[in-house]
């Protein structure tokens, strides 16, 4: 199992204002940002990413918009900085929200440029984007996956075509001369990742052979990974752990109490990120008709409800570290504790090749973040790399 460190580069000083107003996203006015404070935070977070290179971890960056939970507005901008500050780490964009991008060729150009700049270290996530990203982008939520797949196909063709230009006259995108310069070092294109929360996404990713990732809920991850493996088998190949990725909050300490304390601070993200004004949580078309029927049938709900291993429902906005450990959202304790928890999780999931290490979140300060990264990188990550894939029996 490889470890990819990531941080959303939160602007936590505005979280209280967001919680008071009922939304951390979309409608929280940016008057709540002090740009000088943001200056200090962004530079600090980038230092923490750079530290991971020295510690032997890989790096993941994501992006969100109009929110106090994540100041990374552009994956390529962040990766451009990080690429110059690192030498060894693989750099994962997870990802480019291509259903919300008006110009997929620009995405292909930016990613190819980063691959060249970094010496071929880019891994390319092409993601749908969260429901609340629809409003800041003002993209149409209806038929979003049709737009996603057209952008996906166009980006891969742009990255892998060397005898262009070619023309593209699609439903959503039209170009008459696609011919990106430079082209990527990794041929035919950097490894592709997708993200999702459903078995349908697992099957779709298997059909492409892409890496599929999900986050913060083992109960969601397992059916998706199972669907991926089953579809791959139907298609005549065996999907190994290197096709599966999972993001979790992780707090490590020299004592169990210290690990829990760090995890609790990082988990502030889990308690704030789902707090979004109602109309932006489910724009029509973003979710499938059956999913919407189920929501209409259930009526109004509050918070982000996840199920623990015993099927008990937990409101993530109110959850303790122990609650969140029961849903595989958080792993915490000493290095031995965390390794044991992840080893068990890996077995339960049927084998995961990529751990997306949510190692900083909001109120975890720089000193704690550095110690969290170093302790994990030195005491846990090497043991994860040695972890054998679980036996086939565990995957069934």
């Amino acid at each position: 199992m490889r470890t990819w460190y990531f941080s959303e580069m939160a602007y936590h000083p505005a979280w209280e204002a967001g919680l008071a107003g009922g939304s951390l996203r979309v409608v929280l006015p940016n008057g709540n940002v002090d740009p000088q404070v943001a200056h200090g935070l962004l530079n600090r977070y980038l230092d923490e990413f750079a530290l991971c290179d020295a510690e032997g971890l890989d790096i993941m960056v994501n992006e969100h918009h109009a929110t106090a939970t994540c100041m990374t507005v552009s994956v390529p901008m962040a990766l451009a900085v990080i690429a110059r500050e690192t030498r060894r780490a693989r750099l994962l964009s997870l990802g480019n929200p291509i259903a919300n991008r008006p110009d997929p060729v620009r995405v292909a150009e930016e990613m190819a440029w980063l691959d060249v700049l970094s010496g071929g270290r880019i891994e390319l996530g092409l993601v749908k984007g969260a429901a609340y990203e629809i409003a800041p982008a003002n993209s149409n939520p209806a038929r979003i996956m049709r737009r996603y797949w057209e952008a996906h196909d166009l980006i891969l063709k742009a990255l892998s075509t060397h005898d262009g230009p070619f023309s593209w006259e699609g439903e959503y995108f039209q170009y008459r001369n696609v011919n990106i310069w430079p082209r990527p070092i990794q041929q035919p294109h950097p490894p592709i990742w997708m993200t999702g929360m459903s078995a349908a996404t697992g099957r779709a990713a298997a059909e492409k052979g892409h890496v599929v990732g999900t986050l913060l809920s083992g109960g969601i991850a397992k059916p998706m990974f199972d669907a991926y493996r089953a579809r791959a088998r139907e298609l005549g190949w065996e999907a190994g752990p290197d096709r599966m990725a999972y993001a979790a909050v992780i707090g490590v300490g020299t004592t169990r109490a210290e690990g829990y304390r760090r995890a609790d601070l990082i988990a502030g993200y889990v308690r704030t990120a789902p707090v979004v004004a109602e109309p932006f949580t489910n724009p029509p078309g973003y979710n499938t008709i059956p999913a919407n029927v189920a929501m209409l049938r259930a009526g109004k709900k509050k918070g982000r409800i996840v199920a623990d291993r015993n099927g008990n429902l937990i409101d993530a906005t109110q959850a303790t570290v122990e609650d969140l450990m029961a849903t595989d959202t958080v792993f915490a304790g000493t290095p031995d504790d965390v390794f044991a928890q992840l080893k068990d999780f890996n077995t339960r999931m049927g084998g995961i090749g990529h751990l997306l290490f949510f190692g900083q979140g909001g109120h975890l300060d720089h000193k704690d973040t550095v110690e969290n990264i170093q302790l994990f990188a030195r005491e846990v990550a090497p043991r994860l790399r040695e972890l054998d894939p679980p036996q086939r029996a565990a995957a069934e």
Binding site: N138, A142, P279, R297, A298
Partner: protein, 257 residues
């Protein structure tokens, strides 16, 4: 009765009730809501033909279809397929937008046009919000803005059968498909409204805060000879909230045409 008809390759579900002069009724973004007391009241005077728009109810939504132009041509084809003559064209909310798009193209089969709080046109500047962003407010807030009496608009979806919920979910998705961007309007439509060459009545709930009566006055100014009638104690869905007085105004107008 409910019937199905394929027009331009699109399988449509159509509610058809009553006898007499044909009245083609184009429903709001919320849907056709046949359970509300409006179709049978209209059907006492007219032959009401009310299609579920493609993507609403069980009407098909072909992959190729995605703009209000498509709906305008589709319903012009429907009017031809039904051989309508001197029909009354009525559109409410989103259906009013579709009706206007039809009327700027051809009024050959229609003698009069009634628009109830139509969407579809932008009159103000870039920073003016002509049409309330229905997708940036909670359902409760939407009901407050859209109904004089919000309790009349509220529906407890937890009690509805799955096929009704499916129709609601499909309709909401289709409403987004056709109206998301530019939001609920066609920037060019305003410049073609002068082509509407049949008597036109605009009907507006005085308490409509999705599109206000002031917006209705802009419509009146843009359609040659149009009249605007506002109705007290009604919001954005006056045919649902106060059907009797609306139908009186409508027939007093249409029966002269």
């Amino acid at each position: 009765m409910t019937r199905r008809l394929t027009v331009a390759g699109v399988d449509l579900e159509i509610e058809e009730r009553g006898e007499g002069r044909p009245l083609l009724l184009l429903h709001p973004g919320e849907g056709l809501e046949p359970q509300r007391p409006w179709l049978h009241l209209l059907a006492r005077r007219y032959r009401v033909i009310a299609p579920w728009h493609p993507g609403w109810g069980t009407s098909a939504l072909p992959d190729w279809m995605g703009s209000v132009d498509d709906l305008a041509y589709l319903y012009l084809d429907l009017a031809a397929a039904l051989k309508l003559e001197r029909a009354i064209l009525v559109g409410a909310c989103f259906g009013g937008w579709v009706a206007a798009e039809m009327a700027v193209r051809s009024t050959a089969r229609f003698a009069s046009l009634a628009l109830l709080a139509p969407l579809g046109v932008k009159f103000g500047g870039m920073l003016d919000r002509d049409i309330t962003d229905m997708h940036a407010i909670s359902r409760d807030r939407f009901l407050e803005l859209a109904w004089a009496d919000p309790a009349l608009g509220d529906v407890d979806t937890t009690l509805l059968p799955d096929d009704t919920l499916t129709a609601i979910a499909r309709g909401r998705e289709a409403f987004a498909l056709f109206g998301w961007k530019p939001y609920m309007h066609n920037p060019r439509l305003r410049h073609w409204l002068h082509r509407i060459d049949i008597p036109t009545l605009l009907l507006w709930g005085a308490q409509d805060r999705i599109v206000t009566p002031d917006y209705g006055a802009e419509w009146r100014g843009a359609i040659p000879g149009a009249a605007l009638q506002t109705i007290p104690s009604a919001g954005h869905f006056p045919l649902w909230e106060r059907p009797e007085p609306i139908i009186e105004y409508l027939s007093a107008f249409a029966d002269r045409t």
